[in-house]
Symmetry: C4
Subunit: 348 residues, 4 copies
């Protein structure tokens, strides 16, 4: 079977992953409406392609928070990579570095931050944080990440409690005994989400700021009001995200929310988006609507499930090629030429 | 089979109830468009969830007509509970009391009001009334209910004649011989809907008012004009309802009509809604659009069909948990924080 | 099998009619988009039902061109009724008279106008005319109809050429040898549509007017411009029709066109509509949007196919009962109470 | 099997062509959204047909760039006709001439321009050009075409690189060894799209102008901005096209883009459209929205696949008959009577 587009990797993962792992990665909250809307919403956006531009020299590089990446697609934070591939997050880190892009490692990694760093020295990495009731444990994680050279701190804001993912309930999902949430060992008993602190508020941004000199990126913002609050509380970046549709079902598709957030932010901080990216042209749409970069979640896991580091590189390379081609066909030779004039929302 | 969400109970009931009973409960008028629209309309409403609110202490209690209930979901009036479970409305009453919420007992109950009261003393109950041609019989029912401690009188306004439910016609639906409309025995021959009085008008609200000191709630209002008339005729509450899509097909979905009614009422009386509630997030949407409380019809019957009182408690508990979670994920810790800013209508 | 609603008759006809006859009656032009849109467009209209009106005394009679009919549903002109039932148009005429409504007999009847008249003396009938190249033949038909007591002349305006109905082409549709277009015998060889005169213009209304004192109703109008022309040329009525979707595919659904025509006509002449009526509530919608009466085409043929005169009466009785019930549930006791306030167009 | 409408030819071609050829002709880029939208968009346009016009004398001729054609449907440039029929483009040229219309021969023909010319002397033909990196080769092609009597030069603007057509990638599509891109032999190795010059810009229109006195038609314009640029750079015609949905997926349907282009051009040059034409009424819609003529791509190939020259004539004749009929049913006797008043966009 030729791996031609991302859905080929999805089909592979569905076929070869253990059902409980596939279900966990695929899960959306409740009716999975938002999970699916993330994808459908891209299809309602139409390009307005321009012709007869010189697109002989394509340059698809961009910068996020000042660091160059080879193309505007990074790896979103997702947990439990060992469920997809034995080497887990080490493979993810290697693939991201090999492709010249950014990997956001999750608090819920099955490798330690130290293992991740050692696996791919010099790669661009951010660390994703959940704030736990045990603040000292969270503080320690932040400082370990900074010390290990992670270059950004991504605070997930949309998980005061875990969303209701029916299949996980039915399956009685839990990690297999040989896997651990290694970054949390010792700090507290793992895999009990009730250890997450649902009392976190905007003021905790100041607390985080006091712990680290890393730029803080807030993930999970979906409204202009929260975007404004994020900017006012001094974050450096916003990831428009609905947690892959795994938290509150029937919120907005992220590409729709992106428009609102970009408008509110007015360029004061960088805005990124995740959720629903399945083709290079989706990346182009997100950038046209104001995202500086997109992050992929499930497709990265499918790549891992296919062939580990190599499979993830395949996924990234396909997105890269598709993104470059769609840019050229839309008449853009450089990322800086991408703008809102390239898209319109379908009336359907 | 794990009972994870309400559709699990629906599947159970469809499988284990006698077809004639399932068909009766499931029936909608004509093409069942409105029955199905009640559900679909919720899916067109999108949340605008807010992040980083302190949702560590959740309080989901509310009050209806001054009485506290443990969460804003009550039991709508539906007939013939013995078709779903041998103990019938007695089980319903017990489950509602156990869960701390309100049960609206139907005129067409298969237990007497006295049996219902005795089954769950102290529970919050309202009585639903059809006005019959034999006004004395209706008067007697109202006064029995008041004497038994029912705390509200719900007048159904949308059934001058019974809607055309094709499956019931095909099945020749009628109650099995061992079941009776016990509250009507002696008053008149039961199960002939033609005994309903199609000449009832707004003036009959004054007649009802003369019979009882109970608050009067009118059920079946779908337009701003009728909402205004209801307020002017002195009702204490309005249930926006289309009788589960069993009366006039192709009227509005209740959640859509709710918006119009709430706008017309301007807070002068409490507004409730029934029809199409299948998830805790549906409850949140209804409250965001101005409902004080919602009522469930068919899901309560599925709960009864599953395990009687216990099954209905399961249904209510799932809705309660889902409602609490969706509130938290939307950034609300108390019912009073729920407002219209939480939702928007999808353009699709 | 119980015959509960019109689609039961449709299923029966599809099962028991010869395929070539079913195909002919069911046919739409090209992709059948308009044929199907006629039905779908009704589903996009929502009622705004009003409660607590006195609907104990229902009166569903109305008048068309001054003559009372028992309810606002007549029989649209369709050809070749012997394909559905051996007695053909004689049965149709009897059923219409028995139900107290109007039957528009087609030029392409398989019984003579004389046979139709003799079958149901005293029934309200209009005669539908195609203008042929042989004007003398058309003139003779008009004058026969008037002499036989037909009370209206319906000029079909939308068939200068016959639409392309793919199934009829594939089937090589033609009348079986034992059936004849009896009203055209002698005048010219039948069943060659090319005998229709495609040069007919509005001026021919004056010619028709010169032939007869019957009121002239024009059938096939879909735009405000043509409605205005019809009024200016002195017709007495307009039937908004797209020939059941059998002529130009992808024109408007008739219920949508009705709105435009009614607005243009401003009450100067009566407006009727055919196409897509499948339930009593469709009739209510058409009247709410300004139609004085609706006409049914295919459902009448299904009734004939089921049981001839008796089957057609069944169809009409179901529509009558459904219409009366939907009126009552919408809060109207008389046809004169039906108005535009009862409906709204769904945004979907 | 009767060949009644164009989808009959599609079904035939799908059944009898080698899979690799069918896939190549059918292919769309990525998810094939735009390929399919080209067709769906026509279905969202509704006619406003006018009645009682004299349509007895139908005249469906029109002119493109001053030359009369028998009806406003030409043959769009598509490659590799020998994949569909052994005689390839020679058959296409003969069929177009026989039907009195225009054939745009592709650079990627499997017959030489000389063979095409010799096959159908005197036929109206335009030549479609891709500009290659080897400009001398392109110049030679233009001058050969002009010398052979081609009457227009069609510059394709939307293919700086080839779109990603997944099935072609999976199939490893390439021409069978016995077929050649005969017009390119000697000039360079064929079938490597990388020989296309992605640096082409609007200035190259001036270069083309310097090579030939033929009118230049630009193909692949989808926006008002590019339409304006095309006019300013002195082209004589614009073909609104998205390359049959084979280049950038999720651009606009061509019939939608036509509206925008026609509005921008304001009659300064002729505008044509290709993509999604499947019925005569589609042609009528395109003309109503301002196209001077439409071009068919895949349907021509299906006709060839069915019976070569004769099959393509069948396809054209069906379109011609359907176009004439839909004109008449919409109330137009001449092409000049077609206008925007005939159509409206459906709200759905």
């Amino acid at each position: 079977m030729a791996m031609v587009c991302l859905s080929d990797f999805e089909a592979y993962a569905k076929k070869y992953l253990p059902k409980i792992a596939w279900d966990y990665f695929a899960a959306g909250a409740d009716d999975c409406t938002t999970r699916d809307e993330n994808i459908l919403a891209y299809k309602r956006i139409r390009f307005r392609p321009r012709m007869l531009r010189d697109v002989s020299m394509m340059d698809i590089r961009t910068k996020i928070l000042g660091t160059e990446i080879s193309f505007p697609v990074g790896i979103a934070p997702t947990g439990f990579h060992q469920l997809a591939w034995p080497e887990g997050e080490k493979s993810t880190a290697r693939a991201a570095r090999a492709m010249g892009t950014c990997y956001i490692a999750s608090t819920y990694s099955t490798c330690t931050l130290e293992e991740i760093s050692a696996a791919a020295p010099g790669g661009l990495r951010w660390f994703q944080l959940y704030i736990h009731r045990n603040r000292a444990a969270s503080q320690q994680l932040v400082q370990r990440a900074e010390a290990l050279g992670f270059q950004g701190l991504v605070l997930t804001a949309d998980l005061p409690y875990t969303g209701k993912r029916r299949d996980d309930v039915r399956n009685g999902f839990r990690l297999p005994p040989h896997m651990k949430l290694k970054n949390l060992e010792g700090a507290f008993e793992v895999c009990k989400m009730s250890l997450l602190d649902p009392s976190v508020t905007w003021n905790d941004i100041y607390w985080l700021r006091s712990l680290t000199r890393l730029p803080i990126i807030i993930k999970g913002i979906l409204t202009r009001e929260d975007a404004e609050l994020a900017v006012r509380h001094g974050v450096q970046g916003i990831i428009v995200s609905n947690h892959g549709g795994r938290q509150l079902d029937e919120g907005p598709a992220t590409i729709d929310a992106l428009v609102e957030v970009v408008e509110a932010v007015q360029g004061r901080v960088e805005v990124y988006v995740d959720g629903g990216i399945r083709k290079g042209s989706d990346v182009l749409k997100a950038l046209a609507l104001g995202a500086k970069c997109v992050f992929i979640g499930r497709p990265a896991l499918w790549g891992l499930a296919y062939k580990g580091e190599e499979g993830l590189q395949d996924v990234l390379r396909i997105l890269q090629d598709e993104f470059r081609l769609s840019m050229a066909l839309a008449g853009c030779a450089r990322v800086s030429e991408i703008g809102q004039h390239l898209v319109q929302f379908s009336k359907l």
